[in-house]
């Protein structure tokens, strides 16, 4: 697949950032379960943080494919957690960009794109996930404010977010009663209930957030009351496509490591690649990576050009997540005992990949969407 040269130059820039600013520190950040906040500033300065956002708010003026290529390239640094943490703005800002006023965009989006503030998106709750109709966090109007009560779960960058795009219930209608608000750090009643410890994506902070009578001024309501659901659905398109890219990119790194190891490691007097079983395993892995990458890019190009591809994006997300599972599993198999050791990258990749069939809507939810798209 031949892309315009500017995509490749941007990819080269992101690969360099991953090689120089992420890869050397990944072990340390994974163990610390956090990366330094300065990385946001460095990523902004290097132009890799906000490439896909409009220039009037400090972005790079690129399109969504630049954003996806950025994800794919930054993952070569070896940590999904770092990319997810750096990239939490990618799910937090689109509702503001789509529905917010000019004043809100300047106030909320610009400092995040400069890397000065961290943004998070808060949809999931302890009691509800993909079933967003079940959202129980309430925003009740009181004068010119809204009073927010509830809690949000599994929030990427939640512990250190300066602003959180929170989806809350403002009316009884299942979908039409949902509205986005920007809750800012320091608002009385807004707290980080706990930082969560995870199987993978360890370098990213993930938190449960509490809202206890938080007074949110009307100026922080994004769009009209009830406009949240449609914006969320559009957001899901991009989030799922991004997760599909995580899938093939994670699998590609596992394949690269497995190839190198199988060439270097000997057993029974010959290198592992001297065994047909290993060669065929690697051939199968490479085929799956190629298939996932091709499907993902084909969806991405169509979405970039304006298609609204609910079914195909769900397919891409599912297929790519499954490929990541299988390829990482086989890569660990090729590494044998070393694949179970924290010092190898395939060990981390196999843990990081486990999120992919869950986050952004589970495989089962995706299958329901695909089935609906088939008219079932």
């Amino acid at each position: 697949m031949k892309l315009d040269e500017h995509y490749e130059l941007f990819r080269a820039s992101c690969l360099r950032f991953a090689r120089e600013k992420i890869a050397p520190f990944v072990e340390e950040w994974e163990e610390a379960e956090l990366f330094p906040r300065e990385l946001y500033l460095e990523a902004a300065a290097a132009g890799v943080l906000a490439a896909a956002y409009p220039e009037e708010y400090g972005g790079g003026g690129g399109d969504m494919l630049h954003g996806l290529i950025g994800v794919e390239a930054l993952l070569t640094g070896g940590s999904s957690g770092v990319v997810a943490g750096l990239g939490s703005l990618g799910i937090a800002l689109p509702p503001i960009l789509a529905l917010g006023s000019e004043e809100q965009k300047q106030r909320f989006i610009a400092p995040v794109l400069r890397g000065e503030k961290v943004a998070a998106l808060a949809i999931t709750e302890p009691g509800t996930g993909s079933d967003v109709a079940g959202i129980a966090t309430r925003a009740v109007r009181d004068g010119t404010d809204y009073v927010l009560n509830g809690s949000k779960m599994f929030i990427t960058s939640g512990a250190r977010a300066d602003l959180v795009s929170v989806l809350a219930r403002t009316g009884p209608d299942k979908h039409g009663g949902l509205t986005f608000f920007v809750v800012e750090k320091g608002m009385p009643g807004f707290s980080v209930s706990r930082a969560l410890k995870k199987t993978g994506w360890r370098a990213s902070d993930t938190a449960e957030l509490g809202f206890d009578g938080v007074r949110v001024p009307e100026a922080n309501r994004i769009g009209d009351e009830g406009s949240g659901f449609v914006a969320l659905m559009k957001n899901f398109q991009h989030e799922r496509l991004a997760l599909a890219f995580y899938g093939h990119a994670t699998a590609a790194i596992a394949l690269e490591d497995a190839l190198a190891y199988a060439r270097a490691r000997s057993a029974f007097g010959r290198p592992l690649v001297g065994f047909q079983v290993t060669r065929h395993k690697l051939a199968r892995m490479a085929t799956e990576v190629e298939a996932a990458r091709t499907l993902n890019y084909s969806c991405a190009l169509r979405v970039r050009d304006g298609d609204y591809l609910v079914k195909e994006v769900s397919m891409a997300k599912n297929f790519s997540a499954e490929v990541a599972q299988r390829v990482c599993y086989e890569a660990v198999q090729i590494f044998g005992g070393m694949g179970f050791m924290r010092e190898t990258r395939v060990e981390r990749l196999s843990r990081d990949a486990r999120l992919l069939p869950i986050g952004g809507g589970t495989t089962e939810i995706m299958n329901e969407i695909i089935a609906k798209g088939l008219g079932l």
Binding site: E8, L9, A12, R16, A45, A46, G47, G61
Partner: protein, 276 residues
């Protein structure tokens, strides 16, 4: 100031293990290699950009930077990358890697310099593939221009440059008059290594590397001029004056050992490595 920066593409040093030598040993198999600009030449590009700006944001351009490379059509990607990083225009001399040696490159650059008439030619002190450390010096000789090699600091002054070079036991400082040829070392990208005539007193760059190209600059790069010239038009019928006879891969390195303390290290250095 007008600066010509000479760039050479090299096999990505991060993937050097992809370099293959066929059994015949008559060439290097370049199939499947990933290419990037020689790191020292990138430092030269960064130097040229710093010499033609005031360091303030947004930066004001104070001169022109022309990026030059010699190579096949795919090296235009490397030139576009240089344009995205900030060069104003680019020239590719159409040829292939195996049709070149240092002498031909210097001769071709000489002709380009005579056409372009820059105040300064910048390039890396050497290329990380062949490590010949040749072209800068040869070019200065052909042009009969002053030269400074291994520049670690550069300060622009009236009609020339003050160049600091790291040498054994200290720093040697050279004053070169324009026009000149300067080759740069890696320290040239330190925050305060390069000062143009307009760089504010006390200004330091907030980074110690070659700048990243932001996306708007990448998008603009394709609109910047990129001229193509034929090698024969520059060097006439000149042919290779040196020829590679045989290539051999270095012997594979043996695995190292971990030592538990300094005592064991010293003992191994003395008895096994016989290094002390």
């Amino acid at each position: 100031m007008k600066i010509l920066v000479a760039l050479k593409r090299v096999a990505d040093p991060a993937n050097h293990n992809k370099v293959k030598i066929p059994a015949a040993g008559d060439k290097i198999d370049t199939a499947g290699l990933e290419w990037q600009i020689n790191p020292f030449d990138l430092y030269a590009l960064e130097t040229a950009l710093r010499l033609t700006e005031d360091g303030k944001a947004p930066k004001t351009r104070l001169g022109e930077v022309v990026a030059v490379t010699l190579g096949p059509a795919e090296t235009e990607t490397n030139l576009r990358s240089a344009l995205a990083t900030g060069a104003d225009r680019a020239i590719r001399v159409d040829t292939t890697d195996d049709a070149l040696d240092g002498r031909l490159v210097a001769a071709a650059l000489q002709k380009l310099v005579e056409e372009e008439k820059p105040d300064l030619v910048l390039m890396g002190k050497q290329v990380v593939d062949g490590e010949n450390n040749y072209v800068g010096q040869a070019l200065a000789e052909l042009l009969d221009w002053p030269m400074a090699t291994f520049a670690a600091t550069i300060k622009e002054e009236a009609g020339g440059l003050l160049v600091g070079r790291e040498v054994d036991g200290g720093v040697s400082t050279l004053r070169v008059k324009f026009p000149a040829v300067v080759t740069v070392d890696l320290r040239i990208v330190a925050p305060d290594s390069v000062r143009s005539s307009k760089t504010a007193e006390g200004f330091k760059y907030p980074y110690e590397e070659v700048r990243f190209a932001p996306l708007p600059a990448i998008m603009q790069a394709k609109k910047k001029p990129l001229a193509v010239k034929k090698l024969a038009d520059l060097v006439g019928g000149a042919t290779l004056s040196s020829k590679y006879v045989k290539f051999e891969a270095p012997p594979a390195r043996k695995a190292g050992v971990k030592v538990k303390d300094v005592q064991e290290l010293v003992q191994k250095l003395a008895t096994e490595a016989k290094a002390i």
